[in-house]
């Protein structure tokens, strides 16, 4: 069978430090119809760059330097804008990592679906609409006839991601590039998207490039896997063979990450830092997003708050920080009840409780230097300025394992995702808090980077005895870091307890589903699971 996509000796360069430097070196790959090729590696490995290059596209500041990209007989290297436009979207389509950012907020979802086929002259708007509904149904979106007529902000993350898969399918392309399509999703939603990917590649006989940093995920969908690092190929092989007998050390490292932390006992004697009692909260005044939440965080311990998106995890964080005042119940900190509204809290209240967010890109001001970002809380809470502040910032940078000399004057845009998140940690630490709320802090990061970050957080806790409230949908993270696990579903806590107790059977029914949804390094895991669930329905 002919190759649909043939990339030969591809070099891609980026312009930085005043010159063109290679970021992808000598990559060759082939893709046949019905085949899924997994590209795996950490950020900076060049996975996305290669994925975009397959469409003849480079991000700003990058260029295709040499090599050949042959898409079903059309050479994209050096092709004209018109030729590229004709191919993009119609022959090869792209599913981006962040669906929320990749949908235009001003237009309805179905309009964005129909845009490519209408603009490429493949069909009229009505026909595209009908096909969209059909695809939405096939991808198990709720109320497929109606959902497309909503604006992007009215859909959940998983729904948006599936609508984007549908959008990529709109022109019935031969190849789809999936760029980390499940990274931002929780495990149960991830399965839906993975199932959608399988449905498309197997039943509709399309080819796909699947880009991810998660080997367990790629193992479910890919026939072959290429491991990349720093723009170079580390190794390539059939999925089973690569998982069972990795040749390179780096691949083995990727395979066996996630070491469990040492157990720390929780006793009633330990100081209670945060106590939440009977908290109920609502956004609209009608529907409760949180109901009767009781929760205790003790000194020097980590509580993991687990649940799918929409379960109320982040809302609880908003109630604790005062962004959303609770309608009932109380939040107390060191035995004192905090005022529900942020405005009424004292500076000291604010200082003792810090937050780290999921997206370090949006949490850091792109126009500020590292020195300014970390120096700000020092000045705000302690009035430390000038030389003293500089010393403190350097000390904090050393704490987060970044070299002060080379990082202190960088702009936040000049950092990688993992480094940015470390800066966010340093900013939180600068306030010398008692409690840090970590909202999905590792979900936007690569496996090894996330691993390093969790180690760092662990290390900091050992040294400073700070407590964490760790909000996550990733059970592997939970296993790695939590002392206590709280599982939430639809605004209620359905199970909570020490890690050992929650993770060992018998489980609550929902906990069981969550645990079963965590991908394993077994290529047949997804098929087995889907088959199992399907038979459960019959």
């Amino acid at each position: 069978m002919n190759n649909l996509l043939e990339i030969k000796n591809l070099y891609i360069e980026a312009f930085y430090e005043e010159q063109w430097q290679p970021i992808v070196r000598n990559i060759s790959l082939n893709l046949k119809r019905g085949e899924v090729l997994g590209l795996i590696g950490e950020s900076g490995a060049g996975k996305s760059t290669i994925g975009l290059a397959a469409m003849g596209y480079t991000r700003q500041g990058c260029r295709l330097a040499s090599g050949s990209i042959n898409l079903d007989g059309t050479e994209l290297m050096g092709a004209s804008d018109e030729e590229l436009k004709a191919v993009r979207g119609s022959k090869i389509a792209y599913v981006a990592q962040s669906a929320a950012a990749s949908f235009n907020p001003s237009h309805r979802v179905i309009k964005q679906y129909a845009e490519a086929p209408v603009q490429h002259g493949l069909m009229g708007y009505e026909e595209a609409e009908e096909e969209a509904v059909e695809l939405y149904r096939r991808l198990f979106l709720p109320t497929p006839e109606k959902i497309g007529y909503r604006y992007p902000h009215e859909l959940s993350g998983g729904q948006l991601q599936r609508s984007m898969v549908a959008m990529a399918m709109s022109c019935k392309p031969d190849i789809i590039v999936f760029d980390e399509p499940t990274t931002a999703l929780d495990v149960t939603t991830q399965i839906e998207v993975l199932a959608a990917v399988k449905e498309i590649t197997e039943k509709m006989n399309k080819a796909a490039l699947y880009i991810t940093h998660d080997l367990a995920v790629v193992a479910q969908v890919a026939h072959r896997i290429m491991v990349l690092r720093n723009g170079r190929l580390v190794e390539e092989g059939e999925t089973c063979q690569l998982l069972e007998k990795p040749k390179e050390k780096y691949t083995r490292e990727l395979l066996n990450v996630r070491n469990t932390r040492q157990e720390k006992p929780i006793t009633d004697k330990m100081g209670v830092i945060l106590k939440i009692e009977n908290v109920t909260a609502t956004y609209t005044g009608q529907e409760n997003v949180l109901e009767d939440i009781d929760l205790v965080v003790r000194k020097g311990r980590t509580v993991a708050l687990v649940g799918e998106s929409g379960s109320g995890k982040s809302t609880l964080a908003k109630v604790i920080t005062g962004l959303l005042p609770a309608t009932h119940g109380s939040v107390s900190f060191f035995g004192e009840i905090l005022p529900p509204e942020l405005k009424k809290r004292t500076k000291e209240d604010l200082r003792r409780m810090q937050m780290i967010y999921q997206m370090p890109d949006t949490a850091l001001n792109p126009k500020q230097s590292v020195r300014k970002v970390i120096g700000r809380p020092l000045e705000f809470y302690f009035g430390i300025k000038g030389k003293e502040a500089e010393e403190k910032v350097r000390e904090l940078l050393r704490k987060i394992e970044l070299d002060p000399d080379s990082y202190i004057d960088r702009l936040t845009t000049e950092l990688s995702g993992g480094e940015k998140q470390r800066i966010c940690i340093a900013r939180a630490l600068a306030a010398e808090p008692e409690l840090i709320i970590c909202d999905e802090v590792t979900s936007a990061l690569d496996q090894l980077v996330a691993e390093g970050l969790l180690d760092l957080l662990q290390d900091l806790q050992n040294k400073t005895d700070v407590s964490y409230l760790f909000i996550t949908h990733d059970l592997a993270t939970v296993k790695a870091i939590a002392d206590k696990i709280v599982i939430m579903l639809k605004g209620k806590i359905i199970e909570q307890g020490e890690k050992k107790q929650v993770l060992s059977p018998p489980h609550h029914e929902y906990t069981d589903k969550l645990l079963a949804s965590v991908p394993e390094m077994d290529p047949n895991w997804l098929d087995n699971l889907l088959a199992q669930r399907a038979s459960a329905f019959i």
């Binding site: 469409m55 191919v87 993009r88 907020p105 845009e115 009215e154």
Partner: protein, 319 residues
């Protein structure tokens, strides 16, 4: 939708408060003007007795806050008082002038706003090219010249050399729409040159700002053509700052065009205001000042409401 309405109501209330404060400031400002109305009106030959009698007639002998209260009350009831200079009702004087000013502003807006937005989009589309720089340099040169200079150049070219348009924009109440339009064309072209640059630069900047978004990259990857990306994907998301600049410019067209009115001898409100200040015709000054601030504040309010409505997330908060 309910939330949006509440928000709009709040902004409206704030605007009313601002208008009230401005009315106080205008009143005080007029009080602070040097000189005495009675003396100015009666001339230097008047005896102290006649001046005193005239002051009484004008109620200038009362306490300022009493006069302010009376003035505001009358104003709210639509009675702007009588002109001190010629005794005619202020509303009659201002009404005709205000219509003319609004007419000129309207015609200019109809030409300038679409022009500025199209140029802004084209500049963003051809970003950093020769064309982009040409647009920027041209429009920026126009705002750098004084208004009267542009006005005289246009008169020199279109009236004197080519003889197409009249050099004076004289209009009266009996003229039809077409004749009026013809008369104000040169002044509105002058004003278009003045306001286009600002709006065009803002449109360009707002669009370029949005072009870095992930959804623009997505549109490019979908193979959508560049012009459509600018018009269909980038522009709707950059409306908010553009609307604000447009509002400021419309406000300028209504309140700030005295020079152009003088050059073209156009009977607008600005000219009336300047004349009245010279004549110490306080009721007219106060009334036009207040109308100007009304226009400014409510155009800004309209801009806020419109930019709120341009965002589906805010518009749809009913769900």
């Amino acid at each position: 939708m309910k939330n949006v309405l509440i928000l709009i109501a709040k902004r409206f209330a704030a605007s009313l408060l601002t208008v009230f404060i401005v009315s106080v400031i205008i009143f005080i400002g007029v009080e602070l003007l040097p000189g005495d109305v009675a003396e100015t009106v009666l001339g230097q030959s008047a005896t102290p007795e006649t001046v005193e009698a005239f002051r009484k007639e004008l109620k200038l002998d009362l306490e300022p806050h009493v006069r302010y209260g009376a003035w505001l009350k009358d104003f709210v009831n639509g009675d702007f008082g009588n002109s001190l200079a010629n005794g005619r009702p202020v509303s009659e004087l201002i009404g005709w002038r205000l219509t003319n000013t609004l007419f000129l502003a309207l015609i200019t807006s109809i030409i300038a706003i679409p022009l500025a937005i199209c140029l802004g989009m084209l500049a963003a589309f051809y970003r950093n090219s020769f064309f982009d720089k040409l647009i920027s340099v041209t429009t920026l040169s126009f705002i750098s010249f004084p208004e009267f200079f542009i006005a005289y150049i246009l008169i020199a070219v279109f009236s004197v050399q080519l003889g197409i348009f009249p050099s004076l924009a004289i209009i009266d109440k009996h003229m039809g729409f077409g004749a009026k339009l013809f008369a104000v064309l040169l002044p509105s072209l002058t004003l278009t040159c003045v306001v286009t640059a600002h709006m065009m630069r803002q449109t360009r900047a707002a669009i370029i700002n949005v072009l870095a978004s992930a959804y623009i990259e997505m549109a490019e990857i979908k193979g959508i053509n560049r012009l459509r990306i600018i018009v269909h994907h980038a522009f709707p998301n950059s409306l908010s700052p553009v609307i604000n600049v447009i509002a400021v410019n419309i406000a300028y067209l209504i309140v700030g065009v005295v020079i152009v009115e003088v050059v073209f001898v156009y009977p607008g409100l600005g000219q009336l205001l300047v004349d009245s200040v010279a004549k110490r015709d306080l009721p007219v000054v106060q009334a036009s000042g207040l109308i100007f601030s009304f226009v400014f504040i409510f155009l800004n309010l309209a801009a806020d409401v419109l930019s709120m409505l341009s965002n589906p997330k805010l518009r749809q908060s009913k769900i």
